[in-house]
Amino acid sequence: MATPKKDTLLDWYRQMVLIRRFEERCAELYQQGLIGGFLHLYIGQEATGVGAVAALRENDHVITAYRDHGIALARGLDPKAVMAEMLGKRTGVSGGKGGSMHLADRERHFWGGYGIVGGHLPLAAGIALAAQYEEKDEVVLALMGDGATNIGYFHESLNLSAVWKLPVVWLIENNQYGMGTSVERASGAKELVRRALAYSSEDGSGMKMGPRIDGMDVLAVHDAVSEAIEHARKHGPILIESLTYRLEGHSMGDPQRYRTKEEVESFVESGPIGRFRQVLIDKYKGVESTLDKIDEEALQAVEDAVEFAQNSEDPTYEDLISHVYVD
């Protein structure tokens, strides 16, 4: 796979830093009581989201679970409207109805985050069925956590997509835990990608078992997902697994008794952003000042988003009762 151009790589870096700063700021706002409910951060997983979404064409589709901020930003949603949703404002991407877990943007073919784990997977198959039926050259990228592969929805969706040769890339973001439960304690197959074998035949038909990729390396993710998308476009579904790690708790306030500080620390060092920054520095002489500028701009973009959100109106009773039915 040809290495993308410098501008593209810098843009991925920008997205990853934007996501990191966005998430850090959300954590602060949560602690200040300005973001309510439950908040699931994407910190640590930026390379997976950015690398995977970058492999899509504009008219392709992406759908994910509730840990969705990173995917939304990578798909180009306006940080202002995303932050406004975090704060439950009228100007939020879902008008304050959905909140952090249910971001969505029809225009960008971002079908949203979904709060019921695994519930979005059959929808992904349906979206792909519609594309296939209408003979559109469009692929669906369906992201899920490792935990989601244990619910029946996952298995039914994989099987259906294999039988009907649907253009879906099933991407497992294996961050090693579903809440406090590690993969080994929840899955018969430790290598989750092996689950594809259950829906594939000896002659190679059915679900393709794709690679397990280094999810901390945005280039590796992009390569693998690009190939997977090509496969899905031509031949049908493929399952791939990105090995990543969430550096924060499952959600805010998680006491994290299921893992050690040392374990978390070991991933901080191999964190996706620092790693990619080093790649860029090694590759392009004197790029540091550009990267520093990107860092600053990301910080500013997040501050602007917070200001926008805080100055936005709260939803009203009219909002509460609107959109129950299509008129």
């Binding site: 439950g88 304050g96 989601a148 809440m179 929840a186 299921y258 009203t316």
Partner: protein, 329 residues
């Protein structure tokens, strides 16, 4: 007497019943070392071990269905669904297997299990962490449906549910987990039978029927209107939704002639509709005003934004105002 939280009452109930009967076991997501997301099972893994406090994969259908099979085979499972909003993958297993098995086998099998799930809004949880699902299950004969609203009842009803030979849906008002506290005697077998409702306040002007968090609010509202308006409410904590204690429900209505039924589920076809129907059918001649319901709005979910959540939810203030309206009727 020690004062404990509602959730501590639940924890003690499970602890004591596991000690009493080794056929009792717990399964659910992160119920083991983590002690559950709300920490209802904290300490039980250390005490009873991985064989009896079993972390499950993320698979609600199986959590329940494995419970049903084990219950039919003689065990007494407690299946925890992390939030009531996640129970629907298991809906088929509950209404088509658990509810039916005793009936369709002419009594050859039965299903002594408890399905626990935190329900309800007011915590900013948004669309999929705020739902009230009791009406779906109250509609299916064969299931018992219980919702405690005090620490004492939480403990006593859960112990009774674990001992009950039938499948019991046990919904817990999660907003009240730590907010609601009460005295519960130590070292004594606290059992609250499944069935009887509880008249928690005596009054003559209006009866307020409620359960769970709404019962807690109803008592607050009753105090407010007593102090400010001189209105004396009788408050009935339904606590067992199925089988309903019609006698207590009707007796109170005969006394006051006015009924306000409060529930946070969507109003249309919610549990309160059944109480209204029973009262109008069986105590018609005592009716001294419209039978009123105060409930969640008929919108598809409790939205995330606090402003919309608060507009959606019944509150002590809204209950007080509904009581005033009804008293003035």
């Amino acid at each position: 007497m020690p004062e404990i939280t509602l959730i501590e009452g639940l924890r003690q109930a499970m602890d004591e019943e596991m000690a009493r009967d080794d056929r009792v076991f717990i399964t659910g997501e992160d119920v083991g070392p983590r002690g559950g997301v709300f920490r209802a099972t904290v300490g039980l893994f250390d005490k009873y071990g991985a064989d009896r406090v079993i972390d499950s994969p993320l698979a609600e259908l199986s959590i329940v269905a494995i419970g049903i099979g084990a219950a039919m085979a003689g065990m007494h499972p407690i299946c925890e669904i992390q939030f009531a909003d996640y129970i629907f993958p298991a809906f088929n297993q509950i209404v088509n297997e658990a509810a039916l098995i005793h009936y369709r086998t002419g009594g050859d099998w039965h299903c002594p299990m408890v399905i626990r799930a935190p329900y309800g809004g007011g915590i900013g949880g948004g669309l999929y962490h705020s739902q009230s699902v009791e009406a779906f299950f109250a509609h299916a004969p064969g299931l018992k449906v219980v919702i405690p609203s005090t620490a004492y009842d939480a403990k006593g009803l859960l112990k009774a549910a674990i001992r009950d030979p039938n499948p019991v849906m046990f919904f817990e008002p999660k907003k009240g987990y730590r907010l609601i506290r009460g005295e519960v005697p130590d070292g004594e077998d606290v059992l609250v039978p499944i069935g009887p409702a509880n008249v928690t306040r005596q009054g003559t002007d209006v009866t307020v029927y409620a359960y769970g968090m709404m019962h807690h609010y109803a008592l607050q509202a009753a105090q407010t209107v007593a102090a400010q308006d001189g209105i004396e409410c009788e408050v009935v904590d339904i606590r067992t939704l199925v089988p309903l204690d019609k006698e207590t429900v009707i007796a109170s209505f005969k006394k006051t002639g006015k009924a306000l039924i409060v529930y946070e589920d969507n109003r249309f076809l919610g549990y309160g509709a059944e109480i209204a129907a029973i009262l109008s059918d069986e105590a018609f001649e005592y009716m001294d005003g419209p039978i009123r319901r105060l409930a969640g709005l008929d919108v598809p979910g409790v939205p995330f934004a606090h402003t919309m959540q608060d507009l959606f939810m019944p509150s002590p203030e809204k209950i007080a105002s509904a009581i005033r309206d009804l008293a003035a009727y």
